[in-house]
């Protein structure tokens, strides 16, 4: 059991979904050329020359931290915004929103990616993991525990991205030295400058593995 209730389909996300559903009813569908189609045909294998089925929202099915979500979203919704805004898992952070800072790092099929540069729609059928799926306050992932032990943060804003990146690094080709870790962690910026302790936290987990 989780010590704290985890946001999921049965808790706060339900409220967000309810609000979104209301919004869908109130929002006229947007069509650039001619009549629009029902939302569920917008992902179509047979596009035609004359019509662009540009709709206010489209259906998306995502699997995040083992939970399934079937929702209507604006097609522009990034994976990051889906995680933070649509289903209210706010552990993942938005920093630069352009793939330059790493705060939004999550795992897709176990590999780390910048969730700000991927559309939610591009991640159907994938197994997505966020910091909420890694550990809980009462049962930390070893990397989370190591960041605590080594004081691998100051303000904490970059921390979930750092930890998601560090956990993925454990399964990547990486040399034994601090310099190797620094190179592979260069996509995660820490403006407090906790780098030395972040590297120490990662090396501690690698040595104990």
């Amino acid at each position: 059991m989780h010590e704290h209730p985890r946001p999921g389909p049965s808790t706060s996300a339900e409220r967000v979904f309810f609000e979104t559903s209301e919004l869908i009813e109130k929002t006229p569908k947007v069509g650039l050329d001619g009549p629009t189609s029902p939302a569920n045909t917008s992902i179509s294998a047979q596009p035609t020359a004359s019509s662009r089925n540009i709709l206010a929202t489209v259906p998306v099915k995502l699997r995040i931290n083992g939970d399934n979500y079937e929702l209507q979203v604006d097609p522009r919704t990034t994976l990051l915004d889906f995680i933070r805004e649509t289903i209210a898992l706010t552990g993942t952070k938005k920093g630069c929103d352009h793939g330059q800072c790493g705060a939004c790092t999550v795992h897709v099929n176990g590999r780390r990616v910048n969730s700000c540069l991927s559309l939610a729609l591009m991640n159907e059928g994938q197994e997505i993991t966020t910091i909420e799926g890694l550990g809980t306050p009462g049962d930390l992932h070893p990397m989370q525990a190591s960041f605590v032990n080594c004081d691998g943060y100051q303000c904490g804003y970059c921390t979930s991205g750092q930890i998601m990146s560090a956990v993925a690094l454990l399964n990547e080709p990486c040399g034994p030295n601090d310099a190797d870790v620094k190179e592979l962690m260069s996509g995660n910026i820490c403006r407090c400058g906790a780098y030395a302790n972040i590297v120490a936290a990662i090396q501690q987990v690698r040595k104990n593995a």
Binding site: P75, G99, S165, S186, G187, N188
Partner: protein
């Protein structure tokens, strides 16, 4: 970001048919393929790219790395940069390609970015990325403020009076030195383009960066069989030690016989408006003893036609030293 229709075609033919309706495959395209999204989503957020239709090609069977019948390598369009860089055959036979990819971006971006996406990666010129500024590449005829403005990062080779934007790719520089071939499937059939002919110089039309036309889908890249006995190295010089674009880079694939250069392929990055193969440097090296003086002569030849701007004159000497050092390291 403008909204768009998102489609997920079941096969390449459907993807090509959908893309063939585009107004252009160059700047201003109203239809774009999307795979990794690392360049496209970034530029859509800046309103530099404004497609009204996105074609997701991630589910197409273009993600394999396979040997070819002639002993070369076939790299699928949607192979992720990290998978390519860490592939055992690439690390053994095409080391310069692995080194170049790992010198670019971050681990997260390399997990997302694809082979084909990297081939069409857009410039980092700040005027191109800022829609409040004129830019001949983004808005033909509007002017190039970079030529009299902030141009420290920009190109010194292959520039025109209309554009001095640098091609930012590392992967393409290694592929130029490896003489890769780009394979394209289009509405009229398939064709193969040597990488040297794939990217275009800016000239009078900097908005046209490649030979791609509406409906053209890059399906894969092939590398010729590995050159037996070749020594390879990629050197990238930049403002930070990691996660930064090149000020200058060099990819070298070189063979020696009795201490003399018997074959050389040289390409430069960070200095050209396209991935910059230097046949001048290659010709200068051929038959010469492998020593620093001859490496420096090759570097002088490579940069002979360089045109500095107000802030990037330092790149000429930097690129010379970069290539000289890369040749020394490869042959050491």
């Amino acid at each position: 970001m403008n909204t768009f229709e998102f489609i997920r075609p079941p096969d390449s033919e459907t993807a090509i048919a959908a893309s063939a309706q585009a107004n252009t495959a160059q700047q201003g395209a109203d239809v774009r393929f999307v795979a990794g999204g690392t360049t496209l989503l970034d530029l859509m957020k800046l309103n530099v790219e404004t497609p009204s239709r996105l074609i997701d090609i991630n589910q197409l069977p273009l993600d394999k790395i396979e040997s070819t019948a002639d002993g070369g390598l076939r790299i699928g369009a949607t192979v992720r940069n990290s998978d390519l860089a860490n592939h055992a055959t690439v690390q053994r036979d095409y080391l310069v390609l692995s080194q170049a990819i790992l010198a670019g971006a971050s681990a997260q971006l390399r997990n997302m970015a694809t082979t084909a996406g990297n081939l069409v990666q857009r410039t980092r010129c700040m005027y191109f990325r800022d829609t409040a500024m004129p830019c001949n590449k983004r808005e033909p005829g509007s002017g190039c403020p970079a030529i009299t403005g902030a141009n420290r990062m920009l190109a010194i080779l292959g520039t025109s009076e209309h554009c001095i934007a640098t091609n930012p790719s590392d992967m393409c520089v290694a592929m130029a030195a490896l003489e890769a071939t780009i394979h394209i499937q289009g509405p009229a059939g398939s064709r193969a383009i040597p990488i040297g002919d794939f990217h275009l110089l800016p000239g009078d039309t900097p908005d046209r960066e490649t030979v791609l036309e509406p409906g053209d889908l890059i399906t894969h890249v092939t590398l010729p069989p590995p050159v037996v006995g070749s020594k390879q190295f990629y050197l990238k010089l930049r403002d930070r030690a990691s996660y930064e674009f090149a000020l200058a880079s060099a990819a070298v694939v070189i063979n020696l016989e009795d201490g003399k250069v018997s074959r050389a392929r040289v390409a430069l990055g960070g200095v050209g408006t396209k991935p910059w193969r230097s046949r001048e440097a290659e010709a200068s090296l051929m038959g010469q003893p492998a020593n620093q003086a001859n490496f420096r002569s090759a570097a002088e030849a490579a940069l002979r036609n360089a045109k500095p701007q107000s802030e990037n004159g330092f790149k000429i000497e930097l690129a010379k030293r970069c290539l000289t050092y890369a040749l020394q390291t490869a042959t050491a």
